[in-house]
Symmetry: C2
Subunit: 148 residues, 2 copies
DNA sequence: GGAACTTGGTCAAGCTGCTTGACCATATGG
DNA sequence: CCATATGGTCAAGCAGCTTGACCAAGTTCC
């Protein structure tokens, strides 16, 4: 394995990831959610199942809780989420998606499915499935939000 | 192809990319280049072959030329590159890596080779090669610098 | 040749998303 | 219950980027 091969693979991986994020973001925008940035999508992914606290979100995103709190301010102000009292801890607040937030999450899933569907046409479904398995084995605990 | 499958593949791809960047950066730091961030690596990749102008670099990184110029200021100040008069255009300056800059580039290549070598142990060399080919087909013109 | 326009680069000012630091309210454990 | 830990916010500052203005050198066209 030459160093140049490693660099070629690295470049291909980063190009694919960058392209994916860009296309999903474009798809979300095209579906009418024009006031969001890709970073919000990473937050929605954590909030979607059952909501989360600001601190949970901060850990998930790899930022301080102050930064996470600001991001929550923004998506609350834009109507994608709301702060509720936490059912088990009076200090905490549970951040949950609104209907609009869930609709946006579905839009992101549709956009992702479109992109991946395009890959399936290029490579075939089996190859795409194999790609997913191999990537999952490479970085099972990789950061959700990239570090650069 | 379910939407959830597309999301799983997307998450795996982003996790792998984030993990890769983090590990390369750690490897570069461990080799003694402690005053750089991952973004600098993307610039070095463009400068390494024959140098580049500030405008070239800006296009490559997807930022304004003012931002690229600031980044060049920084790597020049830290001794990784220097500005030379452009041999064919008196308006332009050719930014070229210094010896230290080339040494850092080699360190990044070594670090990348280490990470990819780890993948080869997990998946086998053939699988890694297949991964590279498929990723290259997915996003042959993907952005060098991701958009989020 | 020279006027009009384009292109490479920098200077300056401003914004945004993040950080650190301080602080309050509630939980938790001796 | 008192001491400490934890969830959250407010405030100030910083780093990296943007827009806008400008100059020097190249290019086009008469």
């Amino acid at each position: 394995m030459q160093n140049s091969d490693a660099m070629a693979l690295s470049a291909a991986l980063l190009a694919a990831a960058g392209d994916l994020v860009q296309r999903i973001h474009d798809g979300v925008t095209a579906r009418g959610f024009t006031d969001l940035r890709p970073a919000h999508g990473f937050a929605f992914a954590r909030l979607a199942p059952d909501g989360a606290t600001v601190t949970d979100l901060a850990v998930h995103l790899g930022v301080t809780k102050q930064a996470a709190s600001q991001l929550v301010d923004e998506i609350v102000r834009k109507g994608y989420a709301e702060r509720r009292p936490h059912p088990e801890d009076a200090r905490a607040r549970l951040i949950v998606l609104t209907g609009r937030g869930r609709a946006c999450t579905r839009a992101a899933e549709e956009a992702a499915a479109e992109v991946v569907g395009g890959w399936a046409e290029l490579l075939g479904e089996g190859e795409v499935r194999a790609l997913r398995e191999r990537l999952a084995r490479i970085a099972p605990y990789g950061p959700i939000r990239p570090a650069w």
